[in-house]
Symmetry: C2
Subunit: 172 residues, 2 copies
DNA sequence: GCCTAATATGTTATAACATATCAATTCATT
DNA sequence: AATGAATTGATATGTTATAACATATTAGGC
């Protein structure tokens, strides 16, 4: 897999609005953890901040490389533990088809008041790598559930990963 | 991941009907390859036979262990090359969420006259591990396509992996 | 039949992704 | 401060997959 170049939020120049978004997302994460009695430690915050600074999902080892710029002794378990914590707390998603991780955008899940319970869906562009998290709409959800029922199967709310072409890449 | 015990088609006793199914599937594969100018070699046949003898998907290294019973020098590339070939020729599928491989059942794809082009779907039981390949029905297919279109996204015909509970495990 | 180009396989090594284990530290609570 | 639970550090290892290069096999033209 070839992947795009990466950004370090504490070293690279970022737009004010992007930095503001990151701050807001970190503040939201801190609140969310507090509310659930989970400890949003420095290590966990740092990993989430690195993910938030990217336009694309990162693999665990890309994240590790970035982390080592601040924390040279970081090892794989450092990253994987932080990712496990963040995933358990619905702050990060894992994309199985690309072994990569990205921040939850909170559009699909319980953190967002207007949405049903967690059932995120990802649109993955096979051309540019864009990975977009969108809510699973009712019609699709129902179609999934019904088709599964034809086979006596009850589907769980695992993220769907839909590969294809994003709007920009379709034009080009 | 814990996995069920495995079967070696050339050593273990199997029912006549299962053996017959395997033979038919191998014959079908041979024809299919012939028709496409692809070489269905001994190595490839052996790997497909091992997969056909299982009730469940296998990982590449489980397959390697089985392969080594006949072919002690087999190495990872032996298995991965055979799997690549079999996947390119639509004879085997890879399940991304479990890093495992299983034979195509030909119910969903061009090999089967009554079906549309390749768009398999898998129902994966998180309790017993059953992995069932079923055709993606029209309603679900349309719902997927339409929802993606809302985001300017064009979905490709990649297999869907739906996790949940099979009928037997729901009862229990 | 023989040559040759293409395809497939053997072999070694390594890349890429992830977890087990145990010791040391930190933290919240008493 | 003492305790127990959660977290982190550190080392090693497990698991999944591919790169790179040598050798063997095969199909097709001569």
């Amino acid at each position: 897999m070839s992947r795009a170049p990466l950004t370090d939020p504490e070293h690279a120049p970022v737009s004010d609005s992007a930095a503001g978004d990151t701050e807001r997302a970190l503040a939201h994460a801190a609140e969310h953890c507090e509310a659930h009695g989970a400890r949003f430690t420095k290590a966990r915050r740092r990993v989430l901040a690195l993910l938030l600074a990217q336009q694309q999902p990162l693999t665990a080892y890309q994240l590790l490389d970035l982390l080592r710029e601040h924390q040279p002794g970081a090892q794989p378990p450092t990253v994987y533990r932080a990712l496990d914590f963040l995933m358990r707390n619905e702050l990060v998603h894992r994309i199985e088809s690309t072994n990569s991780y990205l921040p939850c955008n909170h559009q699909h899940c319980g953190h967002h008041p207007a949405r049903d319970a967690h059932w995120p869906q990802f649109l993955l562009c096979d051309s540019c790598g864009e990975t977009r998290e969108v809510p699973l709409d009712g019609a699709l959800r129902q179609a999934l559930t019904l088709q599964a029922r034809d086979y006596g199967f009850e589907v769980g709310a695992r993220p769907l990963e839909l590969h294809g072409l994003c709007a920009a890449c379709r034009k080009a």
